[in-house]
Symmetry: C2
Subunit: 159 residues, 2 copies
């Protein structure tokens, strides 16, 4: 009887998860698929989300790249040597094709480019990513990051 | 002895708070002062933060106003009848004069403009506010909101 109860609860959980995923707007699903490839450095997948007109901008670092080729080049440079990276999403919402993702970007890798040579460092940088999507082409027209680099600097101090 | 300990802890707490406030970048202090007046509907204070060139935009509602006069007019209309409003800040950071505020905007007021006539409704809308400041004039050049209206709609369903 107890076992049946557990099975029913698991089944219910699965169904609810499915319902939740089905409820998710198509825009948020596309954003998740893109951010998954993006955070795992799967560049051959990521580049399919960009066109020649796509914009990638970090407003807090005053960096801006236009076009698939330049964006991928930048990402490859920025991520070289990284051992682990992921995107922790705290909250996501959208208004049409504008998707807002609040969360943290997590990195583990060599400290060279952060002034910590010979050390493996860990960073969890809070921030906001806004994506403007092209829902016909399943692409990202604009990726804008706002990142809390002060928190990053504080984290580096103790490593 | 115990009492002295408590006093010392309290004193330490006060000093730490002061240190924290002193540590806060001037940009974040200005943002807080502005958002305080903004959320309390102190329009005579709020309007001093805008110039004729200021932009107020809600990207998720596709609304945009330019100039002190138009912005204040919009705010007065939007807030009319509101009984209580405040801004709960979960995280704030800045990069120079660009300040990012992650949090929720809380409202309590008549439900008329939300399709709930005769009812008092309560809303806590999660979102991100980015402010571009003019630190010489102590003004807000650009106020951009990204608000989770789906969560708002969900909250209205049960009221």
């Amino acid at each position: 009887m107890l076992r049946l109860g557990v099975v029913l609860i698991l089944l219910f959980g699965l169904l609810m998860n499915k319902a939740y995923a089905d409820d998710m707007p198509a825009e948020q699903k596309l954003a998740l698929a893109y951010l998954d490839a993006y955070s795992k450095n799967e560049f051959s997948k990521v580049e399919q989300y960009y066109s020649r007109e796509s914009i990638f901008e970090d407003k807090t670092a005053k960096r801006k790249y236009k076009g698939r080729y330049r964006i991928i080049n930048f990402l490859k440079r920025a991520r070289s040597g990284i051992l682990e990276s992921r995107f922790q999403i705290d909250h996501m919402f959208n208004s049409g094709s504008l998707v807002v993702v609040i969360g943290s970007q997590y990195y583990r890798g060599p400290g060279e480019q952060f002034g910590k040579p010979g050390k493996i460092i860990e960073l969890a940088i809070p921030g906001v990513t806004t994506l403007t999507l092209d829902m016909t082409e399943n692409q990202v027209k604009e990726h804008i990051d706002l990142l809390d680099y002060q928190t990053m600097t504080d984290q580096l101090l103790t490593q």
